[in-house]
């Protein structure tokens, strides 16, 4: 299964990079989402995957060895949320940018002054 998931990571990255290279800013933003999804998956995968045994402690409160590793999960969870924060900001920026300049073309964005 890991191989298939690794391929998924690759596909997400490919799509992400491809979108980043577009001139349309909207596509660029979609590219960022793909990149962040792919990176999250990569970190998640890197600790190994365990199905069906989340890191919940039972009644005995004793740990057992089959539990999934909680550390990468916590990392990715943080990353997902922060990714959302950034994305919202970029979207708002894009919105403002379009209402000021009236273009969606990144190549028009060559200098900070008029």
């Amino acid at each position: 299964m890991e191989i298939i998931l690794a391929i998924l990571v690759g596909v997400q990255y490919t799509a992400g990079v491809y979108m980043l290279l577009r001139r349309s800013i909207l596509k660029f933003i979609i590219g960022i989402i793909f990149m962040s999804n792919a990176t999250n998956l990569l970190v998640f995968l890197s600790a190994g995957i365990t199905s069906g045994s989340p890191a919940f402690l039972g009644e005995s409160a004793e740990r057992t060895d089959e539990l999934a590793d909680p550390l990468p999960q916590a990392l990715v969870l943080t990353a997902v949320v922060i990714g959302l924060g950034i994305l919202v900001f970029i979207l708002a920026l894009k919105f403002k940018f379009f209402s000021v300049t009236g273009t969606d073309d990144l190549d028009q964005l060559k200098s900070t002054e008029e």
Binding site: I3, L21, L57
Partner: protein, 768 residues
């Protein structure tokens, strides 16, 4: 000594904020301070005959073993006296000279700091510390040369001197560090103690050359000499100070300081005299054809510096003695000649020698002083300069090997100097001069005070050289050349070959002078010839090289900084991908532990769905479908999280994904359709780059599986989750308890982002 330097540091800014009434007397105050410092050093002279050196050490950066070390020995004594003594005279002169200029406050400030930096340099017992003072003098001289910064010539000259001496400074630092590594110390005394180690290490030659480049740039040695004539753009007091006692002598000082460490080797006695001889000849050769007063003097300075470096390079007891004496000779006559040149320019309105003449009628005292110091420059008796020249000849006569050649060249250069000195006197003060812009007078006692004192000193010390020899020169010589020698100087040496050489020099010099006087054409022709022979002027080469460099940078910048966002990204991604590929190639030979399987099928199907929707989202031309497909792939990923035991993660991902889709759709109605901007070819290129990156990331993901996140951390969380934080959901406990501060940071990020968004949107509304 540290207190003396502190005085400089404190006085300079203090006098800048003086009340208006006293402000006019600022120069006098500065001169008084300099005089006080001079007196302080004078009182230290007797002390010096008892102890070889006085040292003050303060801890500076103890972590790297760097101390502030100030030493006063015979060598630094000579320089300190010259710097403070001539400094006082320069300030007195400047008071009269700078009267009608603006910004004199700034001028005095920099000039005063400059002399402080120069004192710090000669008193430094630690080479890193010396380097810092060295750079300070570079910077401050830049500010001084740039005083008339409205003039372009001034700016160029200042820049040139800064560039060249700054470059030399860096080279010097490299050399110091290189050699310092050998003995693991930057203290001069330590270097002297372990001199043989340094001399025998393989770093010796590169270190010597690097330090020498520093010396050559500072002391205006060929081929770096051209900044010095440019530096005459500075006001006369600055030229007078820079050329005589400070700045350009710093290089010579460093050579003398390091002579006990680096000197005495074949490399030393070969390279340094070579540089010196060429510089000496360059200086005297060009001095004779110049017509600008200050330019003439600048080239004679180059000549004198060449002689000094040459003598230090010859490195015999006699030559060092001659060099130390000549230091005084040159400082005296050069300081006063520059002051006189400045005064003449001030009074007549020109410094073109062709326009001047017959000044003796209007300025008899000036004439007298000029004759005295110019005789000293020419090396005629009974001035101190005569003695200096005798000693130099004596040192050269007793030289084995290539000494004969150096002697001949030395005579040639001195003949030229005799002619230059005589021409200088004759053309300005005698002869006819009807084309002066203004008829001069001799008013201004302070203008003549400095040159007068120095001229009298030259005469007096020439008659009684023993005063100088037995005290100052002797103790300085003992520093440079370890064995103690008694120095007895006298004016009259008797009829020997040295005297014969002197006579010959004078006769030839006078002959050349008469020849040039009779036939005015000669000088013109000579000048033209020079321009034809030396049509490559170093200043022009310098400017051209600099221009080329700037143009090259511009071109390079235009290629690299093109301003297209996606090409920056393309470059970054491509390089990152290639580097990761390289790393994967280097560490090849690993095995994937798990085999390929499609079990369980529902997950494989899910992955396939995600892949398809991702691709669809990327290629779709409709914004809405693109975003919906994006949402599908996001939800799919959250299902994967769910299956693989990451329940909290899955929940978060679903929430976030929902929010994203909702927001996109909200914003979408206000945004344009997807612009179709790229051609087919760019799309293919971008796809190729993306595939290179994506494929390497797949490999990386495979390699990363089973990467052990530091096990103790996960173990700690799992073990302590219930006992320490009373929570059974470990991921949850990590976020809100163990790493609560991180989560707080995350909240802050979201808040800031929310603020940003609200600002962006609100402004938009208000505009409407």
């Amino acid at each position: 000594m540290q207190r003396v330097l502190l005085i400089y540091l404190l006085f300079a800014p203090a006098l800048l904020w003086l009340p208006e009434r006293i402000k006019k007397q600022r120069a006098l105050l500065f001169a008084l301070v300099q005089l006080g410092v001079f007196a302080y050093f004078i009182t230290r002279i007797p002390l010096l005959s008892e102890v070889p050196l006085i040292r003050e050490v303060t801890q500076w950066i103890p972590g790297i073993g760097l101390d502030l070390e100030f030493t006063l020995d015979g060598l630094s004594m000579i320089f300190s006296l010259l710097i403070s003594g001539i400094g006082a005279l320069v300030f007195l002169y400047a008071r009269a000279y700078m009267k009608n200029y603006r910004n004199t406050g700034r001028f005095y400030f920099f000039l005063f700091l400059f002399s402080g930096a120069m004192l710090g340099l000669v008193l430094s017992g630690n080479l890193i510390q010396l380097f810092i003072f060295w750079e300070l003098t570079t910077f401050l001289s830049f500010m001084l040369i740039n005083f008339f910064h409205e003039k372009e010539a001034s700016r160029n000259a200042a820049f040139q001197s800064l560039f060249i001496t700054g470059f030399g400074g860096l080279s010097l630092l490299t050399g110091i560090i290189l050699l310092g590594k050998v003995v693991d110390s930057y203290s001069v005394s330590e270097w002297i103690l372990r001199a043989s180690e340094i001399r025998e290490s393989p770093a010796y030659l590169p270190g010597l050359i690097l330090i020498l480049i520093g010396v050559m740039t500072k002391s205006a040695q060929f081929p770096f000499h051209f900044w010095l004539p440019g530096a005459m753009e500075a006001p006369a007091p600055v030229s007078s100070y820079l050329h005589s006692a400070t700045m350009v002598k710093a290089g010579f000082f460093l050579l003398a300081r390091l002579n006990p460490v680096l000197g005495g080797t074949t490399e030393w006695t070969f390279i340094i005299p070579l540089v010196g001889v060429v510089t000496m000849l360059t200086g005297s050769y060009f001095a004779i054809t110049r017509t600008d007063l200050k330019s003439i003097l600048a080239y004679t300075t180059i000549n004198a510096l060449g002689i000094l470096i040459l003598l230090m390079g010859i490195d015999t007891k006699l030559s060092v003695k001659a060099a130390l004496l000549f230091l005084f000779v040159h400082a005296f006559y050069k300081a006063s000649l520059f002051m006189i040149a400045g005064m003449i320019e001030k009074k007549t309105g020109t410094r073109e020698i062709g326009l001047l003449g017959g000044l003796v009628r209007y300025m008899p005292f000036t004439f007298l002083i000029t004759v005295l110091v110019a005789f000293s420059m020419a090396g005629l008796p009974p001035m101190l300069g005569f003695l200096g020249k005798e000693l130099i000849y004596e040192a050269k006569v007793q030289l084995p090997g290539i000494g004969a050649l150096i002697l001949v060249l030395g005579v040639v250069s001195n003949v030229l100097m005799v002619a230059v000195s005589l021409l200088f006197i004759y053309r300005i003060f005698l002869g006819k001069g009807d084309s002066m812009p203004r008829i001069p007078d001799e008013k201004g006692f302070l203008l003549l005070l400095g040159p007068g004192i120095l001229a009298l000193l030259s005469l007096f010390l020439g008659l009684f050289p023993g005063l100088l020899g037995s005290t100052l020169v002797q103790s300085a010589l003992a520093v440079v050349h370890a064995e103690g020698v008694e120095v007895k100087l006298k004016l009259w040496h008797g009829f020997n070959e040295v005297f014969m050489l002197s006579v010959m020099t004078v006769v030839l010099g006078v002959g050349l002078f008469l020849l040039m006087l009779r036939k005015k054409v000669i000088q013109e022709r000579w000048n033209n010839l020079n321009q034809r022979i030396f049509y490559i002027q170093l200043t022009r080469v310098f400017t051209a090289a600099l221009d080329q460099f700037v143009r090259f940078s511009e071109r390079k910048t235009r290629v690299l900084q093109h301003g297209y966002h996606r090409y920056y990204i393309l470059t970054i991604i491509l390089f990152a991908a290639l580097l990761i590929w390289l790393q994967i190639f280097v560490t090849r030979g690993w095995v994937i532990e798990t085999g390929f399987s499609l079990q369980p099928f529902y997950i494989s199907g899910l992955v396939l769905l995600i892949i398809l929707s991702t691709i669809f989202s990327a290629v779709s031309n409709s914004r809405l479908t693109s975003i919906i497909a994006l949402g599908v792939s996001g939800y799919g990923i959250s299902l994967i999280y769910l299956y693989y035991s990451a329940i909290d993660l899955a929940i978060t991902q679903i929430l976030v994904e929902t929010l994203i889709v909702v927001m996109f759709v909200l914003v979408l109605q206000r945004l344009p359709r997807f612009a179709r901007l790229s051609s087919r070819l760019t799309k293919i290129r971008d796809l190729a780059v993306a595939l290179i990156f994506g494929s390497v990331m797949t490999l990386l993901a495979l390699k990363a599986i089973r990467l052990e996140f530091s096990a103790p951390i996960s173990d700690f969380f799992l073990t302590n989750s219930y006992s320490g934080a009373f929570g059974r959901n470990v991921v949850n406990v990590i976020l809100v308890d163990f790493r609560a501060l991180d989560t707080l940071g995350e909240v802050v990020v979201l808040t800031v982002s929310a603020f940003g968004v609200s600002m962006l949107l609100r402004k938009n509304n208000s505009e409407k």
